[in-house]
């Protein structure tokens, strides 16, 4: 029942967003901002096209590698800083300041090092995603109640058994939260990189469309990305809630 209400609320929000879009379209005129109907019509035509597929594929590949890096490095740092208290205490404020920094500032450096290549965009995406993964993994490990360690010892569990049966499940919900935020920010980083300087990918497609005054194409790509991000987030949130509520 709660789930069905959530679905209803989501539908209401979507309808309100569409109405707001339509109203804005009436306000500023059709050439600047096409309404939802022509945009969706364009979407139906554009999405199956080869040009869209090529660019979407480029973004996906880049995002996939960036995510792999974010998760790999983030988890490694998070586990290290969670277990080794001193490293955590030393590193946490540094990571927090990096987290709040506008990382776009550093993109020219990445470009100077890697050039306009896939590896540059991957690096920039990973720069965004790695921090929340590391910070939340560290906090998950630090927040394990000490009673778990005591219980493990009274139950005579081996080190490996302790990790598998207690520490891993205890930290999982918070780590998954970190992975969700890491997903979001990695995507943001990849798209920013593509918008700033790239010859392919959905981010560059938006910028090209803007420069060529193809408002429909610009909005179409934005809508597709919006839907992708929102759906992926909903899925990851759902997993997170399941992990929190398991008994």
């Amino acid at each position: 029942m709660i789930a069905s209400r959530r679905v209803a609320d989501t539908v209401i929000i979507l309808i309100i967003l569409l109405l707001a879009w339509q109203a804005l379209h009436q306000l500023v005129g059709a050439t600047a901002l096409p309404g939802p109907v022509p945009t969706l019509a364009y979407l139906a035509k554009f999405v199956p096209s080869e040009r869209f597929a090529e660019n979407a594929w480029a973004t996906l590949v880049c995002f996939f590698y960036a995510l792999l890096l974010s998760y790999g490095i983030g988890l490694a740092f998070g586990v290290w800083m969670g277990i080794h208290r001193l490293s955590g205490a030393v590193g946490e404020p540094i990571l927090i300041s990096l987290y709040t920094l506008p990382k776009v500032t550093l993109y020219p450096v990445v470009l100077l090092i890697f050039g306009l290549s896939l590896s540059g965009r991957v690096t920039f995406g990973a720069m965004h995603g790695v921090l929340p993964v590391a910070l939340l993994t560290m906090s998950a490990i630090r927040n394990i109640p000490p009673v778990y360690h005591k219980s493990a010892r009274t139950l005579h569990l081996s080190g490996w058994q302790t990790i598998v049966t207690m520490l891993f499940p205890a930290t999982l919900p918070e780590i998954v939260a970190g992975l969700r935020i890491g997903f979001t920010l990695t995507l943001l980083g990849v798209l920013l990189a593509e918008m700033f300087a790239a010859k392919q990918g959905l981010g560059s497609l938006i910028i090209n469309a803007m420069q060529l005054m193809q408002a429909e194409e610009m909005l179409t790509v934005a809508v597709v990305l919006f839907a992708f991000a929102a759906l992926a987030n909903a899925l990851l949130l759902w997993i997170e809630h399941r992990l929190h509520h398991r008994v």
Partner: protein, 252 residues
């Protein structure tokens, strides 16, 4: 300073020293990264010459404006939404999804509507920051203990006095967390927009310097942005922590 603090300082100093050394020894090409000491010198020269003053004022002014709008409007919207529980419930999926969507994909849309001016940049700053303030406001108002309403009636206080003298101070530390987030998000929103496309501003100047291979200018301004953003964020973070500590609020 604590031992941990000294170690942190040492780690940062070693990192900067290593970068300096690698640049000086030619392990890192100076066409890619210039030594940190030269970045600092270039920044000081740039600040003294005053060439970039206009851009600096413009960018930080826009950040301030966007943060201000976000805090005021975010608080007002948060208070209204808090008073309407049904609307709030419906908005829950919206808030849960908001920061998952890379909102910069709508920056070109803003440019098409408002033209290439400061307006789309302010709007992007507000768009990145305001929802954090709304969420913090809801969170803060949720944590106002119910017993305060009873205390207010025992002291025969009116609605406005109760809101200003009891509820607002009770929610204040959580609201400040919102202010902290709003400022750092406004920074990110404004700078990123300026990088993507802008008529002027630090982001634009850095990106131009990159295109012109003017490394000194680029690194000097980059350093400036990083220093200012870090100092502002650190200041807000420390105040936030102090406040939470004094009020006995556990902060992640």
């Amino acid at each position: 300073m604590s031992r941990v603090g000294w170690i942190r300082l040492a780690v940062l100093a070693i990192a900067i020293g290593l970068l300096e050394l690698c640049c000086r020894l030619g392990l890192i090409d100076q066409r890619v990264v210039i030594p940190p000491s030269e970045m600092a010198v270039a920044l000081v020269r740039l600040l003294i010459s005053g060439e970039a003053n206009e851009q600096i004022v413009r960018t930080f002014g826009i950040v301030l404006l966007a943060a201000l709008i976000s805090v005021v409007a975010g608080f007002a919207l948060g208070a209204v939404i808090h008073a309407l529980p049904r609307a709030r419930q419906s908005l829950d999926p919206f808030f849960a999804t908001y920061y998952a969507v890379p909102i910069f994909i709508f920056y070109p849309v803003m440019i098409v509507i408002f033209g290439l001016s400061a307006i789309p940049i302010v709007l992007m700053g507000v768009a990145t920051a305001i929802v954090a303030m709304i969420i913090a406001t809801l969170n803060g108002l949720d944590r106002v203990p119910q017993v305060l309403a009873k205390v207010a009636r025992v002291h025969r206080m009116g609605t406005i006095a109760t809101a200003l003298r009891l509820k607002l101070p009770a929610a204040a530390p959580h609201l400040f967390t919102g202010v902290k987030l709003a400022v750092s998000y406004a920074f990110i929103g404004v700078i990123a927009s300026e990088f993507i496309l802008a008529p002027a501003g630090l982001g634009r100047v850095i990106s131009d310097a990159y295109t012109d291979f003017n490394n000194r200018q680029m690194y000097a301004l980059m350093l400036l942005l990083i220093i200012v953003a870090t100092l502002v964020n650190m200041f807000l973070h420390v105040v936030d922590q102090r406040w939470a500590e004094r009020r006995g609020i556990a902060k992640p």
